[in-house]
């Protein structure tokens, strides 16, 4: 499962980086460190940072960084894709087991791609996967938008971010991302 999580994280990081590159390129300088800290412990995502009693005590200065929104939105989208793939693989697995019992030998592109021992949903198809259809894209865009607004982004900006993240799904991966993935 660690490999799957790394793959999902890499994919989400790539989507978020692409969105930041499009919408706020000046934030790219600090993107990698922020993303590394974010994926270091994703369980922290929903938790609010406790106010520091020994901090400077000024909360009137607000920093509008896109990175802090792009990472969880991209993670939500990738997680949703993975969940869908898992569900599909589950259905296919049930059909495959049934066909094996009946002696059929149809298909074979399980969750692990060429590896028959891989768990369902861990292969590249589940995360990078094949390009989603228009209906699925719309659903993912809505998910991204909802996640962004839930994080406190205004609706117009949430829409922009959702578009950028979903656009990243369709675009070919950037050369440096390919290098990272390999």
């Amino acid at each position: 499962m660690g490999g799957a999580q790394d793959g999902a994280a890499e994919r989400a990081r790539g989507l978020a980086r692409e969105a930041v590159r499009q919408l706020a390129p000046e934030e790219l300088a600090l993107f990698e460190e922020t993303a590394a800290a974010y994926f270091d412990d994703p369980r922290q995502e929903g938790r609010r940072t406790r106010p520091e009693p020994l901090g400077i005590g000024i909360d009137a200065v607000l920093i509008g960084t896109l990175t802090q929104f792009a990472l969880p939105v991209a993670a939500a989208v990738v997680s949703n894709i993975a969940t869908d793939a898992l569900r599909r693989e589950g259905r296919r697995g049930r059909w495959w087991r049934r066909s094996r019992r009946t002696g059929g030998a149809e298909g074979g592109g399980g969750g692990g791609g060429d590896n028959p021992f891989a768990a369902p949903g861990t292969g590249p198809a589940a995360v990078a996967g094949r390009p989603p259809g228009p209906g699925e894209l719309e659903r993912l865009r809505r998910i991204a938008h909802d996640r962004a607004t839930a994080l406190g982004l205004p609706p117009a900006q949430a829409q922009l971010l959702a578009d950028a993240v979903i656009g990243g799904l369709l675009a070919p991966p950037a050369p440096d991302e390919e290098e990272n993935a390999s």
Partner: protein
């Protein structure tokens, strides 16, 4: 002392430099440590003793029987504690000190361990990462800011990339200081570089002010106190009351007082802790202002913050770890606000010290193996904590006012607050609570009289410090090592307070109503008999010569100020660069600086001579009155002499005080009126006791004839020489309390 700071732009003349005198944070921190330590030690010690008692088979019945027996037999055996302990053997609850001091040690071990491990835990829990070297822009800015801060220690910057709020935090233990920069703050470097610099400088200022350890120890103390004492106390208090109601009705009052005391200490710990944190923020802001010549970016952020600080949105100001933005802005504009020492601080210090006085005195007595409970040494620890804190606060406020060409106007109210704190703290005294529970407490008039004595000690202490600081201010401002003078002044005050506190608390031991005072005290109505008793014990049992000399030296310390001013002026001529300019944010014109070094007008010789002349006149009047009475109407004096044998002493004291008031009243300027009045009292003490005794002797000669025992045609010089110094000294001590109170009230009425 900071080195070569940049003067704050726009600071008006007379603004004191915030870092040329010890900060107020340390004062509040000392109070916090005191209240936490004592509360925890007593509570833990009590819990351990009780657990040991019940664990070894003790029962509630044994305790109840012992209390009942003590209440019954105490009036008959008050003078013989050994007999009382034989009749009513108390259950063995263990030695208090033997349990409490290890509890205290355990507490501080725990605090030390948490302090040591906390930085690593924080790095781990918050997943802080070292700031990468690849961020060259941020790195170079940070290097520039560290150089500006002039830090002697190495600072390691770590990042909390997940925190989107622009914030920082200075933390780490000694030698391993770290500054955390949040992800939001690092983004701010690009968006608003000035704000980034202001926030980082604020955190570096905490390191420079050396208040990081204070802040973390404060937090640790607060949390440890809440978890180890406040919560268990809140849970067990109702049960303790229930047990008292059902099994030991006599102990209900004791339990109630104990709970009230613990609540008061808990409130002190919480309020003092937040006061420490607020104080350090103000000083960090001030440091940024000194470094950057005004802290304009910080002001901009605080102005924006001001709109968020609407009342009702947050905790009450006294419970917040940060001061309100408006106050921070005000302190940035007016550094005099950092030097304020007001009634609340004095009240808190006095209340805490009074609540824990008996404990600290008992520990000191047992540690130093002191025989008597009235020794000044037994009051040394509370006097150092209370007296040191109050004296330092008064000196700071007085010096800041002096730099502004004014005088500190809070002495009267602060003195009253200290008196109130000392009095209120006696409700938490365990000896008194026990006496109350046993029905052996003194009557209300005696209690009120004792509170009067204790309050007078507190009030007089503040006034003495205010007068001393005002007189010594020019010497301090001109001295090469000004802090040494301030420390010496505070030490003298502490010595004086330890003598006063020891006497006052010894006089307040419960049981006066069980005593049969000797004649003529038994003829006086309550509480005059009690006050007479306190006064008499001071005469009959005068302190050792060393203590008396110490009291005299410290009480007359203000008079040495003109000499010190002259000496410091000479040394200033030899060493350039010393003077009042060091204590200000902006240089002063030469004339203004010279005015700051001018000593307040003090004419000690004139006041003493005036007092002696008025005293001689009053003595002559007393003598003539006695002669007239002997010839015309001897009855009143005969009756008075029969009731109060040493009535001339009382006459001498009252007339001395009256002369002191007249001398004070004759001072045209308001400056140092009380000091002149005290000196006048001293001067009047030279002729008045002799005149009073001679008047009585001559009355006897005229009324009863020359063969009467009391008749002495020539003045009794031997008696006068032995009693005059005592009467004069103690009347002057009384004047030290009464005259400043009178001048304070008079000044207030005029304003």
């Amino acid at each position: 002392m900071s080195a070569a700071p940049a003067p704050a732009a726009g600071a008006p003349p007379g603004m004191p430099h915030p870092f040329r005198m010890p900060s107020g944070t340390s004062l509040r921190f000392a109070l916090l440590i005191l209240s936490t330590s004592t509360a925890m030690a007593v509570a833990l010690g009590g819990a351990v003793s009780t657990a040991a008692y019940f664990g070894l088979g003790g029962g509630v019945d044994g305790l109840a029987d012992a209390l009942r027996c003590t209440a019954e037999h105490f009036p008959d055996t008050a003078a013989d504690p050994g007999r009382l302990s034989r009749i009513c053997p108390l259950p063995d609850l263990g030695s208090g000190t033997a349990v409490e001091l290890p509890a205290l040690a355990a507490l501080w071990l725990a605090v030390g361990a948490v302090y040591w491990l906390l930085p690593a835990y924080r790095v781990r829990r918050r997943r802080l990462r070292p700031l990468p070297d690849t961020l060259t822009g941020i790195r170079s800015t940070l290097a520039e800011l560290v150089a500006l801060a002039g830090l002697r220690c190495r600072v390691r910057f770590v990042a909390d990339w997940r925190d989107p709020a622009p914030t920082g935090l200075a933390f780490g233990r000694v030698g391993r200081r770290q500054v955390m920069l949040s992800g939001g703050l690092l983004q701010l470097h690009r968006q608003d570089p000035e704000a980034f610099r202001a926030i980082v400088l604020h955190e570096l200022a905490h390191l420079r002010n050396r208040d990081v350890d204070i802040a973390f120890l404060t937090l640790i103390c607060q949390r440890l106190f809440v978890t180890a004492l406040a919560l268990p106390m809140a849970v067990t208090a109702p049960f303790a009351l229930l047990v008292a109601v059902v099994l030991m009705p006599g102990g209900l009052l004791y339990q109630l007082l104990l709970i009230v005391t613990q609540c008061a200490l808990a409130a002190t710990v919480v309020l003092t802790g937040t006061a420490v944190l607020r104080s350090r923020e103000l000083y960090a802001d001030a440091r940024v202002a000194v470094w950057t010549g005004g802290a304009h970016a910080l002001r901009r952020m605080l102005t924006a913050q001001q709109h968020l600080d609407r009342p009702g949105r947050r905790l009450p100001p006294a419970l917040r770890p940060h001061p309100a933005a408006a106050r921070r802005l005000a302190a940035l504009s007016d550094t005099r606000l950092l030097f304020g020492f007001g009634p609340w601080e004095a009240f808190g210090l006095a209340l805490t010290c009074s609540l824990v006085y008996q404990q600290l005195a008992r520990w000191t007595e047992e540690a130093a193996r002191l025989g008597s409970s009235g020794s000044p040494l037994s009051a040394a620890v509370p006097a150092v904590l209370l007296g040191g804190g109050v004296a330092m606060g008064v000196w700071r406020a007085t010096l800041a006012a002096r730099l502004d060409g004014d005088r500190w106007r809070g002495a009267h109210r602060t003195g009253l607050a200290m008196a109130a704190g000392l009095v209120m703290g006696t409700f938490g005294d365990q000896v008194r609570s026990t006496a109350l529970a046993l029905g052996l407490a003194d009557s209300l008039p005696v209690q009120l009289a004792w509170w009067l004595v204790l309050g007078a000690v507190g009030y007089g202490y503040v006034r003495w410090n205010a007068a001393t600081a005002r007189l010594w201010a020019p010497a301090v401002l001109a001295a090469r090592r000004p802090l040494r003078l301030v420390a010496a002044g505070c030490a003298a005050g502490v010595a004086l307070l330890s003598v006063w506190l020891a006497h006052a608390y010894a006089a307040g031991s419960p049981g006066f109503d069980l005593l049969t005072p000797p004649r003529p005290l038994n003829l006086l109505p309550t509480p005059l008999d009690y006050l007479g008793y306190v006064f008499s014990t001071a005469f009959v049992l005068p302190p050792p010569a060393g203590v008396l000399a110490l009291v005299l030296l410290t009480a007359t310390l203000p008079l040495a100020a003109p000499l010190a001013v002259r000496l410091s002026r000479r040394s200033r001529v030899r060493v350039p660069g010393t003077g009042p300019e060091r204590f200000l944010l902006r240089p002063l014109p030469a004339a203004h600086a010279a005015a700051l070094l001018a000593p307040p007008v003090l004419r000690p010789a004139r006041a003493v001579v005036q007092g002696a002349v008025f005293g001689a006149a009053a003595g002559l009047g007393l003598w003539l009155w006695h002669l007239c009475c002997a010839v015309v109407l001897p009855g009143p004096i005969v009756r008075l002499g029969a009731v109060v044998t040493f009535y001339p002493v009382a006459f001498a004291v009252l007339l001395q005080l009256a002369v002191g008031f007249v001398v004070a009243w004759r001072q045209a300027t308001a400056e140092l009126r009380a000091v002149h009045g005290v000196l006048g009292t001293l001067g009047a003490g030279l002729p008045l006791p002799l005149a009073a005794f001679t008047a009585r002797a001559h009355f006897a000669c005229l009324h009863w004839g020359s063969g009467h025992l009391a008749c002495r045609p020539a003045p009794d010089l031997e008696l006068a020489l032995t009693t005059t110094p005592l009467i004069t000294v103690w009347t002057t001590a009384l004047a030290l309390l009464l005259l400043p109170a009178w001048t304070g009230l008079r000044d207030r009425a005029r304003r």
